[in-house]
Symmetry: C2
Subunit: 324 residues, 2 copies
């Protein structure tokens, strides 16, 4: 059997963490032949609850789970890690303006960036799930300048999965037959789900649905899906967010088999997006790495949507400029 | 690809259900090449919340999840099912005596037994997770007399997993190297975790730990683990219960590869347990069926523990005699 790899999860006692840990321990992410050691980080007041989560992981007797670490010290959590899920964050709430948001998340992600640089493996794969995830990833990446920026990513896979789910329901086909929706930009208000390239059973989705459905139903449904889940379930998306984080990391780790998957990663200037912004692009994963699909011939509307996302993310970047 | 099978989960909007559904949809239970249709049952007031759970399942874009049904009608939920997880129940709370408990669970499991007989496949595999699970399974089985009693089981795998976890922690070895603890009897106060047959890396566990640890630490820790998780986590075991339900059904469905797994199933008189009681025995699963390991040479203490469980389960059976 392969040697165990170390995998860190922050905010591990929260609802997304709770949904994520069992998927990791079962082998869904790194493969059925890859043992893991889970290194879980929480804030100090949540350590007792985290210990309860550890007890339940022990009680699940996972053959692939070789050890479990609980800590409130990021350097312990990230020590020798090959993969890191940054789930814990302080999301924006109604009473917070931008400066509050930055004040709350800045110290978390500067500190975690430093600890990743100091303690994790040099080829670590980091996905930020905690919102605002693009800018949190930007902060972490810029506080780990000794690492390749390509170690850092943020999650827009939930948006892509939601988009594929909507097309599956609309056309009454299993979601496995739907592929290649592209999520552009920020996992936030300006996020653009682009079905121009999407396929169902090999045919263009745009040949199966009318354009009004795409702009009038599909796009707003995907954009507001998080709020709709809260209304129905009485709680925010947890298992679907965790599942998308598994998908993001699994494809990065094991390959996407030629499918386009959306990942927010540091731009190299693709599609006119300023270098260094953490921006969601279509990617193909292979050999433990991603490459951006750079040759899509995008139309004016998509160009405008990309520009809106560049504006929003540039503004966020400027607000945290002192942390970069 | 294989045709999809129908899998029902009751209490699907509850905490165990929420942890279970994603494990089923990801392929952890029925295999990576077996598509499923999830048929989720809830009480009428929980249907909106259940719809929120469905939204998140759609949003997870599982390739193996071919359809999702939400209903408050057991006949719809169990229609053509090959596997059923009976998770929803009314557990015993402090203010309830035995007659209250029976009054609360009787109608649930008589009705679900009837619906399973009427609507599910004739070779359906049913596992009852909702407590008191042995007697709930007894009620369901006796209200589905047109089916083979071997279709019905209750879950003691969580106890077995907890036992394996404790031995793994005690000896500092991965839990994959621990096997063959036997859970006897009732998933309740009298449950007996028997390490007499347990192995670690091929050697007898009893040769690695002293007898005092087994009786003074191991047995009480396994027996009271549920309460300890509640104290630490502030919530009852959910993900570990769901994970154990996956293990139970996966081994029944796909085989246990020669390992002994504990399942509560209708006794045929093995080890002196009266015929028809739903009692946990050591089983080996193969070819989609289980067989009880009937030739363990048990000692006097184990015989006493079995007798305690027979007494407890007989008393429960007598209390629900009018429902059988």
């Amino acid at each position: 059997m392969k040697p165990a790899i170390r995998v860190a999860v922050t905010g591990a006692a929260g609802n997304i963490g709770y949904a994520l840990l069992w998927r990791l321990a079962s082998g869904d992410c790194f493969g059925a032949d890859q043992p893991i050691i889970l290194q879980m980080l929480e804030i100090t007041p949540a350590l007792e609850r985290l210990n309860g989560v550890k007890m339940e992981l022990v009680d699940s007797a996972f053959p692939l789970l070789h050890d479990i670490v609980c800590t409130d010290d990021a350097n312990v959590a990230f020590k020798d890690c090959s993969a890191i899920f940054l789930v814990g964050s302080r999301p924006r709430t109604k009473d917070m303006d931008r400066s509050d948001l930055v004040a709350a998340n800045g110290p978390i992600f500067t500190g975690q960036g430093n600890a990743i640089e100091k303690s994790a493996k040099k080829d670590v794969k980091v996905v930020v799930v905690g919102n605002p995830c693009n800018t949190n990833a930007l902060i972490a990446m810029n506080n780990a300048k000794g690492l390749d920026p390509r170690c850092f990513s943020a999650m827009t896979r939930l948006d892509q999965n939601r988009a594929h789910g909507q097309i599956s329901e609309k056309l009454g086909v299993p979601v496995a037959k739907v592929s290649d929706v592209v999520i552009w930009g920020n996992h936030g208000d300006t996020m653009f789900p682009d079905a121009s390239w999407a396929k169902v059973d090999g045919a263009a989705v745009t040949s199966k649905v009318d354009a009004d459905w795409l702009t009038g139903a599909f796009e707003p449904t995907v954009a507001t899906r998080g709020k709709a889940v809260i209304v129905a379930r009485g709680a925010s998306s947890a298992a679907s967010a965790a599942s998308s984080a598994v998908d993001h990391m699994r494809d990065w780790w094991q390959g996407s088999h030629g499918r386009m998957v959306s990942m927010a990663i540091p731009s190299q200037g693709w599609y006119g997006v300023p270098k260094g912004l953490i921006f969601s692009f279509p990617c193909i994963c292979e050999g433990g790495d991603y490459r951006v699909v750079t040759d899509l011939e995008i139309d004016d509307r998509t160009r405008e949507q990309i520009a809106r996302n560049v504006a929003a993310l540039s503004e966020e970047r400027d607000a945290v400029a002192n942390l970069l």
